[in-house]
Symmetry: C2
Subunit: 871 residues, 2 copies
C-alpha cells in the first residue's frame, strides 16, 4: 500500500487521532480525536503537513495525493448526501491551516468553499436567507482572490464602498441581498480568475494554505518562538454546517464549568436559527444555555452528554462551539477553556477531588500569576477605559484615591478619604505617608526603587518610572500630555499592568479562597525549597506566617530606625563627635530595637529569623535640604552651619557603593555591638517566656573574608557575654549577605567563617550589571523595547550573568562548608522564574515579601515537579 | 665521626661556606665565604641553627657541643695569642644571632664578651683609653643582665642618671673614666648574677641567642613574613678587633662604587684611631677614604684589592665595614650596598657592560620604583622634617607652592608664582587651574578620584584623601590639628609618600639618564607585553611616545569636551529638546574632535590608537550649583527655572551606575554617530597626508552583547559611509571595554562581535568590590591600617577577586575568538604587581599614563623574565 497523505474524520470514524499531531497538526488531530470519541463533528479530511515543504518547492501536489483528495470529497458527498457545486443541495467546505503548534501568523480560514453562481442558490433555499447566502458568497470571492490569486483586498472594498454611497448607507449590515447580488456582479470584473469549479477552488485553497507557511509573518513568528522551519502545516477541509436553516437550528458556545467562578455546571449561550458569526457580532442577544433544554431537548441532552465526555477525555474544562442544523447537533471545536484565577484554582482542586486529575497536576495547572491575581484588587474588566499614562508595574493590584504630592498631605488628607501618593520618587522620609496611601505613583525609579520595594512590602499597588507625568510640587499639580491633574483629583492606578486612569474605576476585591489554601497545601508537599519572608515588624511577620512563611529571611533593622520616635536617637548617634557620644545615643536605641525583635520572635516562634545589621549609609537618616537641616539643628540644639558641615561630610557620590553595610560596622563597631546586644537580649528574654528562637545574624555588604571576620568577632563576643548575663543558652548563627560580586567569587574563603549565605540579588544585580536601580528608568524602558535585554533584571534574575555569580558562590561556598545553608532574600525571591533557578542550583530557601509568600510556595512546587519531569 | 655543630671561620680557613646558609644563617655563611675568599675576617665560629629548637626545649646544649665550643675558643686563643679573661691581653668576642633570612625581631649583639674586673685592665692598656674600656665593660654588664639574666634595664639606667646628677652633667659623654668605674661598682649591687668567668658569660650569651628565636617580636615577624617556625637561628661568636689602639689603627665604611651617582670609584669614610661607634655617633668628622692611602698605604692597598675581589665575587656593589688594628686590616662585614635610583641604574648598566653581570640580570636588578623615582622631583632627603598631615600618595613626586583653593585663583596667582591647589575634591571644572598648579592636595577621594587620575595623567604630584585638613573656602584657609594655613602660605607636598610639609623644602630635580634609556632598551628585548599609553591629546601622546609607548590604549574623547570653547556646544547638545537639536550641536563638536584625533594620529603614526566613545553621564557637563545654573541660563538664553529642571532630571543617585557609556550611545545614537564620523574622517584625512593610522574604536560600559551590537552597527555603518566618501580604505577595529562584572562573565558572547577587549579595571574594581572610588576615603585608610585589605585595590589589582573576573573574561573571550586582542587601560596598567598578573594571564598589552610608560616597560620585562625562571 502506498503511503497515505489524506486522513478522513467525521462520519463515525477517523483515520488519525490525537497521537498524529505531528503530521495532522493540532486542529486536524483534535478533529480526528473527537470523531474517535463518537462526538459528532462535521466530516472532513486533513492533508498531512509532510506535503507542505514539497508543495512550496514544486508548486503542486503529487498525482497520487490529488486522487486521495478527490476520493475524500466523494466520501463527504456520500456522508452528507450533498454534491460539490450542486445548485439545490451543495456541499460546502471550510479550508484551514493547522500546524503542530498554533501559529497566529498563518492563513485565515476560507469558509463556504464550493459556492459558485449556481450553488449559491442552493444555500439561499436551504437557509431562506438571501442576504446571508450572498454575503457568504461574496466573502468567499474576496478571500479567495486575496489569498489564492493575490488580488488586493482594497479593490473589492472600493466596490462595496461605492455601493454603500449609492444607497446612502454607512455599514455593511445596511446592504440588502439585492445589493450584494449587484456587488458580486461588479466583483467579476476584477476577480475574473475566481474559479466556478468547486474542485478547482479547493485545489487553489489547499495550495494557498501550504504556501501560507512561508508568509513573512509566519517566518517571523517561528523565529521568535523557535519553531523549526521544516515542520510545515497540514490542511483541514471540513463540511460546513448551518445553524440558520430554521427553527430547529441553532448555534452556540458552552463551557463545561463556570469560567468565572469555577462552579461545576454547564455555562454558555446560544442563538436559535443563527450562524456563529451572529453570536460574535452581538446584534441579537443570545439566550442562556439552559433555555436550549426547553427549545431543543434532544439536542441539549446529547450536548450535555458530549460535554461530559469531552471534559473527562481532555481532563480539563472545555470551551465548545456547536451548531444544530435541522435538529442535528454538530460539535465544531473544543478547546481548553480560559478562566479567571479564582475559577482556575477551584476547578483544579475540584477535579483533583473528583479523581479526574492528580493533585500534582492540579498544582501544576495553577500559575503563580493566578495566585498573584487572587491576592490583589483588580479593575473590573467590564470597564473599558484608555489609560492616561503608563509606567513600570512595580507592585500589583489596583487602587483608587485622591492625588497627593507630599507624604505629610497623605497623612492629613488620608484621614478623611483614600489617597494616592504621586511623587518623582519616594524616600525613607515618606514611609509614614506611604502607610496611609492606597498606592503610589512615581515619575522616576525602577522596579526596585524605594517606592517599589516599600509597596511590595506593604502589598500596595505601585507604578514607578512613569516618565510621562511631570510634577510641579509648588503648584501641586501634575501634567501629562498637556492635561493637568490637581491635588485632590481622583485617579485609579493598576499596578499589575502599570497603567494610570482618570477618575474612579470599579474594583474587584481580592480573596484568598478555601480552594487556594487547599491547593497551596498540596503544593507544599511537592516543594524542596523552603519559603521565608522579608519582614521588619511583628505585624508584617504575622501576615507572612498566615500566608505560610516558614521563617524570616530578611529583617532590615534600619527600617525600625525611621520611625518618628527613633530617628531622633539615630540622628544623635550620627552627629555625635566621638565614640562616647555615639554609644550614648545607641543606648537609647537598644531598648526599642529589642522590643521590635521580641515581637518578631514571638510571632515566628519555632521558626528561624534572619536579622541583618545596619545596611544603608548614615546620610540616609539626615535631611538633605536646607530647611530640613535648619529644623533639625534647632531640634538638636546645634548650629545649622555645623550640622550642614556634618551632612556635607557624609554626602557620597555613589551611596550605593559607599560607606554602608559592614563598612559602617567596621568603622563604628559600637553600632554592631548595640545591634548584637539587642538581638541576643531579645532572644534571651523571649526564651524565658517559652518561645523557641532561632536567630540568624546577617552581616551585609561583605566583599572580603576579613570584613566578615571583624564583624563576626564582635557579634560572638557580645552574644556570649549577653547569654552569660541572662543565664540562657541560645542557638544562633552568624552569616553574610552575598550581594557584591567579589563575595560570590571569594565565597570559598568567606565560608570558612560564615555559617550561612543569603543572596541579596538586588544589589548583586546593581553591581554585576553596573545598573543603579534608582537611575535605570532613564534607559531600561528603551532597552526592553529594543530587546537589548529580554526582561528587567531587577524583576526576574538575569541567569546568564548574575545567575553565574550566584551559582559560583554556591559551589565555592559549599566546597568549603558542605552543608552551608543558602537562601535568597532579594526581590527575586518572589519571582517564579528566579525561584525555579534557585531550586535548580540547590538553594535551601527563598525569602520574599509577605504578599508573595503564597506565590513562592507554588513556584517552588512547580520548580520541584518540573525538574523531576526533566530527569 | 660525630655530627659537627660548630663551624670555624677566619684564620685563613673556614669549615662552612655560602652554601651552608641553612644551618649557619646568613651572617655565619657570609663570614665563612669571606674566609674562603682569603679576606681577613676576625676569626670566630658559628653554632648551627639545628641546635636552636632543641636548646629552647631542653634549656642546655649537648655535652659534645660544649666540648666543640671550648675547642673553638682554644683555637681563637691560638690564632690571636690572647686568652679569655687575661688581665694583660684578653680575648674578647662578640655574640650575635643569625637566621637563614635577616630577622630584625631577634636579639641585639652582645659585644666585648670576655671582659671582667681583671681583663678590663688589659683593654685599658691596649687602647690607652680608660673611659672607652670601662664604657665597653659597663655596656656588657647591662646588656648581659638584661638579655641573659632578665634584670630590667631601667635599674641600670637609674644608677647612671644618679651619677650624672651628682656630677651636674647632662649626657653620658660628659662622664669620665672614673665615673664609669664608680658606676660599675654600683652595678654590682643589682647585677650580682653577672659572671666573672668568660666561659660562663659565653654559655649564657649563646643560650640567650637561641632563646631570642621565640621572643614575641620574632614570632610576630615570622607570622607576617611567613617564615617557618622550625628554622631556628644560628649563633655567631667572633673575635673583637679594635680600631682605637693607636695611630696605626682606624675604622671605616666603604662602598665599591659611589652609591649616590653610581660612578665606578671607591667611596667611603674612616676615622683614624677610633672605634666603629665613633663614626656613627658623629662626634668626630670622618675623613675621605682617599686620605687612608696617605696615612696607612699598605692597609689601603690591601683594602682596595679586597673590595675588588668582593665586588667581583658577589657581583654587586658592596658596602664594607673594616677596622685596622695596629696596621692589620680586618673586614668586619660586607653586604650589598644601598644606592639611589640613579646610581642603581648606572651601576647595573656599567656592570653589564663590564661583563660582570648579564643584561638580563641588569634589568632584573632595577625595580620599577627606581625608574619612578627617576621621573619625579624628590624632597632632598638631607632635610629632616615632620609632616603636618598625611594622605593617600596618589601621584608621585614632590612640589612646592603657595596654597590656593579655587581653580580660578590657581590661574591668576599661577602667573606670578608656583601654586598648590588645595580642595575637598576636584572636578572637571578645575582642569584649567590644575594645568597651572604644581600639584594637588585634596581632603577627600581615593587613589582613582578625579584629582588622582588627572595628576597622574599630567605627571604632577598629588595627595588625596588627606582627611586631617579642614578647608574653609569662605575664609580661604585650611586648618590641621588646630593650626591654620592661609591662601598664599607656602607648603611642600610629597606625592610619593603622601606627606604634606609646612614651608619650602629643597627638591632634587628628576632626570631620565642615558643609562636608564639603555636599560629600558634592554628590558624591551625581554618583555612580551606591549606597553601603550592613556593619552587624550597630541602633546600627551608625544610625551608618551618619547617614553617608549607603543600606541594609545585609551583616548578619552570626553576630556576633549571640557575645554572652554567646546563645553558650550556640549551643553547645547545636552539641553536640546529633540534629536534635531542634538544633531545641530553635535555638528559643531565634530570638526573640533576631528582635529584632536588628527593630531593624535600624526604623533602615533604607525601605532594603534584606541579611542573610547563618550563615557561619563551627561550631568557631568552641566553646573550643579544655583549660581552656575543661572549663569549658564543667561549664556544659553533660556530661563534658569527651565535649565534647573533639566539639570534635576539628569541628576542621578549613583552616577557611577547610571546613564553613561554605551547606555548613552544607545539612547542617543547621534552621539556615537558623530564620534565615529570624527574618528574615521580624521583617519581618512591623515592617511592622505601619508600617516599610517590604526584606529581601534572602543565602546564603554558594555554589560551585554546586545548593547555592543547596537553600537558596533552604528560605528560600522558610519565608517563605511565615510570611507566611501573619502575614497580611502582604513583598517579599523571595533571593540569594547570590559569594566562591568557581567561583561567579563558573558565575554564568550561579547567576543562573537567585539574585535578586541580592553579591561577598565578601575570600574571593574568599583563594581566588583562595590566600592565607589570617590567615597572610599571614609573607610579605606581604616581597612589598610587594620589589614582588612592588604593594599588599595585601586592602586594594585585585587588578584583573587577582580583578577578572577579579568582571567575569566580572557578565557571566555578567547574561547570564542582565539586571537582576540586584549589589553588593560585601567590605572593598574602602570602598577608593576598588576602588570605581572597581566603577563601571566596572557594579555597583549598594558596601557598607562605617559609618565608611567618607562615603569611599565621594565615591569613587563620583569614579569617575562620571572615567569621564565619559574618554568
Amino acid at each position: 500500500m502506498a503511503k497515505r497523505y489524506v486522513y478522513n474524520f467525521g462520519g463515525k470514524r477517523a483515520d488519525g487521532s490525537a497521537k498524529k499531531k505531528d503530521i495532522l497538526g493540532g486542529k486536524g488531530a483534535n478533529l480526528a480525536e473527537m470523531t474517535n470519541l463518537g462526538v459528532p463533528v462535521p466530516p472532513g479530511f486533513t492533508i498531512s503537513s509532510e506535503l507542505c515543504l514539497d508543495y512550496i518547492r514544486r508548486g503542486r501536489l503529487p498525482k497520487s495525493v490529488l486522487a486521495e483528495v478527490k476520493k475524500a470529497i466523494r466520501r463527504l458527498e456520500r456522508l452528507t448526501g450533498r454534491r460539490f457545486g450542486d445548485p439545490e443541495n451543495p456541499l460546502l467546505v471550510s479550508v484551514r491551516s493547522g500546524a503542530r503548534v498554533s501559529m497566529p501568523g498563518m492563513m485565515d480560514t476560507i469558509l463556504n468553499l464550493g459556492l459558485n453562481d449556481r450553488s449559491v442558490k442552493g444555500l439561499i433555499a436551504k437557509t431562506g436567507d438571501k442576504r446571508f447566502a450572498l454575503d457568504c458568497y461574496r466573502r468567499l470571492i474576496q478571500m479567495y482572490c486575496d489569498v489564492v490569486l493575490g488580488i488586493p483586498r482594497s479593490k473589492f472594498e472600493a466596490i462595496i464602498d461605492a455601493r454603500k454611497k449609492e444607497k446612502g448607507v454607512k455599514f455593511d449590515i445596511d446592504l440588502s441581498g439585492d445589493d450584494w447580488e449587484e456587488i458580486i456582479r461588479r466583483f467579476r470584473r476584477i476577480g475574473q480568475g475566481f474559479p466556478q469549479d468547486p474542485e478547482e477552488q479547493l485545489m487553489g485553497a489547499i495550495g494557498a494554505v501550504f504556501k501560507s507557511w512561508n508568509t513573512p509573518r509566519a517566518i517571523e513568528y517561528r523565529r521568535i518562538y523557535d519553531i523549526p522551519e521544516d515542520w510545515g502545516t497540514a490542511v483541514n477541509v471540513q463540511t460546513m454546517v448551518f445553524g440558520n436553516t430554521g427553527p430547529k437550528s441553532a448555534t452556540g458556545v458552552v463551557f463545561t464549568r463556570d469560567p468565572a467562578t469555577g462552579e461545576k455546571k454547564i455555562y454558555g449561550e446560544f442563538l436559535p436559527n443563527a450562524q456563529g458569526e451572529d453570536v460574535v457580532a452581538g446584534i441579537r442577544t443570545p439566550q442562556k444555555i439552559d433555555d436550549l433544554k426547553r427549545i431543543l431537548p434532544d439536542a441539549y441532552k446529547e450536548l450535555v452528554k458530549i460535554l461530559k465526555k469531552l471534559e473527562r477525555h481532555y481532563r480539563d474544562v472545555q470551551d465548545v462551539e456547536f451548531t444544530i442544523e435541522e435538529g442535528k447537533l454538530w460539535i465544531l471545536q473544543t478547546r481548553v477553556g480560559k478562566r479567571t484565577a479564582r475559577a482556575a484554582i477551584k476547578i483544579a482542586v475540584d477535579m483533583a477531588k473528583e479523581g479526574l486529575i492528580t493533585k500534582k497536576e492540579a498544582v501544576l495547572r495553577i500559575t503563580p500569576q493566578d495566585i498573584d491575581q487572587l491576592l490583589h484588587p483588580m479593575i473590573d474588566p467590564s470597564q473599558k477605559r484608555t489609560p492616561i499614562a503608563s509606567g513600570l508595574p512595580a507592585s500589583p493590584g489596583a487602587a483608587v484615591g485622591a492625588i497627593v504630592f507630599e507624604a505629610e498631605d497623605a497623612i492629613k488628607l488620608g484621614r478623611s478619604r483614600p489617597v494616592i501618593l504621586v511623587r518623582d520618587e519616594t524616600s525613607a522620609d515618606d514611609v509614614g505617608g506611604m502607610k496611609v496611601a492606597q498606592g503610589f505613583l512615581t515619575a522616576r525609579g525602577g522596579m526596585t526603587s524605594h517606592a517599589a520595594v516599600v509597596a511590595r512590602g506593604m502589598g500596595k499597588p505601585c507604578i514607578v518610572g512613569c516618565d510621562a507625568i511631570k510634577i510641579d510640587y509648588k503648584k501641586r499639580v501634575f501634567s501629562v500630555d498637556g492635561r493637568v491633574f490637581h491635588e485632590g483629583d481622583v485617579i485609579t492606578i493598576d499596578g499589575t499592568e502599570g497603567k494610570v486612569f482618570e477618575g474612579r474605576l470599579k474594583l474587584i476585591e481580592p480573596r484568598m479562597t478555601k480552594e487556594a489554601q487547599t491547593l497551596l497545601k498540596w503544593a507544599d508537599r511537592f516543594r524542596r525549597l523552603k519559603v521565608r519572608t522579608n519582614a521588619d515588624t511583628g505585624p508584617d511577620a504575622k501576615v507572612a506566617r498566615e500566608f505560610g512563611a516558614e521563617g524570616i529571611g530578611l529583617c532590615r533593622t534600619e527600617h525600625m530606625f525611621f520611625a518618628k520616635d527613633r530617628i531622633q536617637a539615630m540622628r544623635e548617634m550620627i552627629i555625635a563627635k566621638d565614640e562616647k557620644g555615639r554609644k550614648r545615643a545607641l543606648e537609647k536605641l537598644l531598648p526599642m530595637q529589642k522590643e521590635d525583635f521580641k515581637a518578631i520572635f514571638r510571632v515566628m516562634d519555632g521558626l528561624p529569623v534572619t536579622i541583618r545589621t545596619l545596611d544603608p549609609p548614615l546620610h540616609e537618616f539626615l535631611p538633605r535640604e536646607r530647611e530640613g537641616i535648619e529644623a533639625l539643628a534647632r531640634e538638636m540644639g546645634i548650629k545649622s552651619d555645623e550640622l550642614e558641615l556634618i551632612v556635607n561630610s557624609l554626602a557620597e557620590a555613589n551611596p550605593m557603593l559607599g560607606h554602608r553595610g559592614c563598612r559602617l560596622g567596621i568603622t563604628y563597631p559600637e553600632i554592631t555591638e548595640m545591634q548584637a546586644r539587642a538581638i541576643i537580649e531579645a532572644a534571651c528574654e523571649v526564651t524565658k517566656e517559652g518561645v523557641k528562637v532561632l536567630p540568624e545574624i546577617m552581616i551585609p555588604v561583605v566583599a572580603e573574608l576579613n570584613e566578615f571576620k571583624n564583624q563576626k568577632e564582635i557579634v560572638v563576643r557580645i552574644a556570649e557575654e549577653t547569654m552569660k548575663r541572662y543565664g540562657v543558652r541560645i542557638r544562633y548563627l552568624v552569616g553574610t549577605m552575598i550581594e557584591i560580586p567579589r563575595a560570590a567569587i571569594t565565597a570559598d574563603q568567606i565560608a570558612t567563617e560564615a555559617e550561612f549565605f543569603s543572596y541579596g540579588t538586588n544589589d548583586l544585580t546593581q553591581t554585576g550589571f553596573g545598573f543603579s536601580r534608582d537611575d535605570i528608568a532613564k534607559f531600561l524602558p528603551y532597552y526592553l523595547e529594543r530587546k537589548i535585554l529580554p526582561h528587567d533584571p531587577f524583576q526576574s534574575l538575569d541567569i546568564p550573568g548574575i545567575g553565574f555569580l550566584v551559582e559560583l558562590g554556591v559551589k565555592r561556598g559549599r566546597k568549603t562548608r558542605r552543608n552551608l545553608k543558602i537562601g535568597i532574600c532579594g526581590e527575586h525571591g518572589g519571582d517564579p522564574r528566579s525561584i525555579e533557578f534557585c531550586h535548580r542550583i540547590g538553594l535551601d530557601y527563598v525569602s520574599c515579601s509577605p504578599y508573595r509568600v503564597p506565590i513562592a510556595r507554588l513556584a517552588a512546587a512547580h520548580a520541584a515537579l518540573r525538574s523531576r519531569q526533566r530527569r
